[in-house]
């Protein structure tokens, strides 16, 4: 099947699933006693409405093609980094380093993907940003909490730009017998990991009892984790036909990225708790900020990228 056809069918299926979800949410709201309101159901409706937008934007980017996908993820990185730095303590002396992050390293990383320059793409931020940003911060002549500030800026750049850029970087892989269909790998990754978040939410709300780590994430339960990860692993296995994997390989890869993705959400929750906030931002109604939505993607994307690159390229 040509890839345009596949993508069209997949998006149609996702929109159908969203229509079903919207239907269920509407019934839940309708069954509430008249005049009553429920925060959980309102939030559910807000989340589903936001999903329509998110899938719509994704569909437009895929319709445009490689350029659209790269620009979309560059914008996602931009917003995520913005939310991250907004909540992180930096000082006046860091201004120059932050300018480099936003106006040089972020665009450069995505331009390297567009030009398929893998060698520099893979070391630009871990090596060059790592060395140059603290140099530029020292020029601000402020030594107070220096190591902490340098570490925070580098960490944010890694999570929000370097890790997330591995999603569009999947387009640059040359997989024998899979030419021209790389966009389907992105769909596989995004659909598996994001559905894992959704299924964890659903399983947690329906059956969640045992709290996993209330000090870090009060809403995560063991039932949600196991049910969510297994369901979306099954979904990943069922999507094997759009990847270069066999069914079992697809299941194993899906399980791996789901688990890594779960811990991604966990790590970023720990930072939120430390900073005393519930969400990274307010961009996406019902979900919080951009970083709340892409935390699991940012951890799983590099792992997925390397699995594919090591065994299939």
């Amino acid at each position: 099947m040509p890839t345009d056809h596949t993508l069209f069918n997949v998006f149609a299926a996702v929109f159908a699933a969203l229509a079903l979800a919207s239907g269920i949410a509407a019934v839940l709201k309708w069954r509430l006693a008249p005049g009553a309101s429920s925060a959980v159901i309102d939030n559910l409706n807000a989340r589903i409405n936001a999903w329509w937008w998110m899938v719509g934007v994704l569909a437009v980017a895929f319709w445009i093609g490689e350029g659209g996908i790269i620009v979309l993820f560059a914008l996602i990185s931009f917003q995520a980094l913005r939310e991250y730095i907004s909540l992180t303590h930096t000082r006046r002396g860091d201004h120059r380093a932050l300018m480099w992050c936003f106006f040089f390293f972020l665009p450069a990383q995505y331009l390297l993907i567009a030009s398929h320059w893998y060698g520099l793409f893979s070391i630009l931020i871990p090596v060059y940003a790592f060395l140059l940003l603290p140099i530029s911060a020292t020029l601000g002549s402020d030594a107070e909490r220096f190591l902490e500030r340098a570490a925070k800026v580098q960490w944010g750049l890694m999570i929000c730009v370097y890790c997330i850029s591995h999603v569009p970087a999947l387009l640059t892989l040359e997989i024998p017998g899979f030419e021209g269909r790389n966009a389907q790998l992105i769909i596989f990754l995004v659909l598996t990991v994001q559905s894992s978040d959704v299924f964890q939410y659903v399983w947690g709300k329906l059956f969640g009892k045992r709290k996993l780590a209330p000090a870090i994430s009060p809403s995560k339960t063991l039932e949600g984790l196991v049910g969510g990860v297994l369901t979306s692993t099954a979904l990943g296995a069922a999507l094997f036909w759009m990847t270069p994997f066999t069914v079992w390989q697809a299941a194993l890869v899906a399980l791996t990225i789901n688990i890594v993705g779960f811990f991604g959400g966990f790590v970023l929750s720990a930072i939120k708790r430390d900073r005393g906030v519930k969400d990274w931002g307010t961009l996406i109604e019902g979900h919080g900020g951009m970083l709340d939505r892409v935390d699991s993607i940012s951890f799983s994307a590099p792992i997925f990228f390397h699995i594919v690159r090591y065994w299939w390229v």
């Binding site: 931009f78 913005r82 730095i85 907004s86 006046r92 932050l98 300018m99 931002g281 307010t282 961009l283």
Partner: protein, 206 residues
């Protein structure tokens, strides 16, 4: 006409750049006579407070700004006078012009709310500076006016003093509960109360 268009553009630009989000924590955005007083770290401070107000309030709200900085002719002067309709005060100690408190009281009497930075200058350090006494004198002159503390978070990092290029961080404005001058309240008491009300809105230090 061009002034209004420019004001609108500037508001949208400030909102886009800083994603500024007003949290009306201690009061609602109502058309009352108010003095919004905020911490001051950046030239953009009054622009974001101004942009965060609903348009009908914004039209009747004037920032208070230092004449020495803004009145050097050309674009800055046009901007501060025609776009922001600022109350320009002379901050120099040995001034011979009008008294700043008189100017502010006059603007309030004309029905305009004010945006005021009681630290008196842009703050480069970590701690909130001591307040100038003008806010108290204004309160004694206009006891019916509500003084609303507004904490501006992050804008100092978007565009610190001396920086030419802004970094696109997200800013939050927290509007606290209004204060009015109590009967028999002394100058240090009122200034102290206003300063703590503002500090209470700051997020915990890290």
């Amino acid at each position: 006409m061009i002034e209004k268009l420019f004001a609108l553009l500037l508001c949208h630009f400030a909102k886009l750049l800083t994603g500024v989000r007003p949290l009306w924590q201690g009061c609602a955005p109502e058309p009352r006579l108010r003095v919004y007083f905020a911490n001051h770290r950046s030239h953009g401070d009054f622009v974001v407070v101004w942009a965060a107000l609903p348009p009908e309030l914004r039209r009747r709200t004037r920032p208070v700004a230092g004449a020495d900085y803004w009145l050097n002719g050309g674009f800055k002067t046009w901007l501060i006078n025609r776009v922001f309709h600022a109350v320009l005060v002379d901050r120099r100690p040995g001034r011979d012009g009008p008294n700043p408190v008189d100017q502010m009281a006059e603007a309030l009497r004309a029905g305009d709310s004010l945006i005021l930075f009681p630290e008196g200058t842009r703050n480069l350090g970590d701690e909130l500076l001591p307040f100038k006494s003008g806010i108290y004198h204004l309160a004694t002159r206009m006891p019916q006016v509500e003084f609303v503390p507004v904490w501006i978070e992050n804008l100092g990092r978007v565009m610190p003093k001396g920086a030419l290029v802004p970094v696109p961080l997200l800013c939050t404005l927290t509007f606290g509960a209004p204060l009015t001058l109590q009967v028999d309240e002394t100058k240090p008491e009122f200034i102290d109360r206003a300063r703590s009300a503002l500090l209470d809105l700051a997020p915990p230090a890290n």
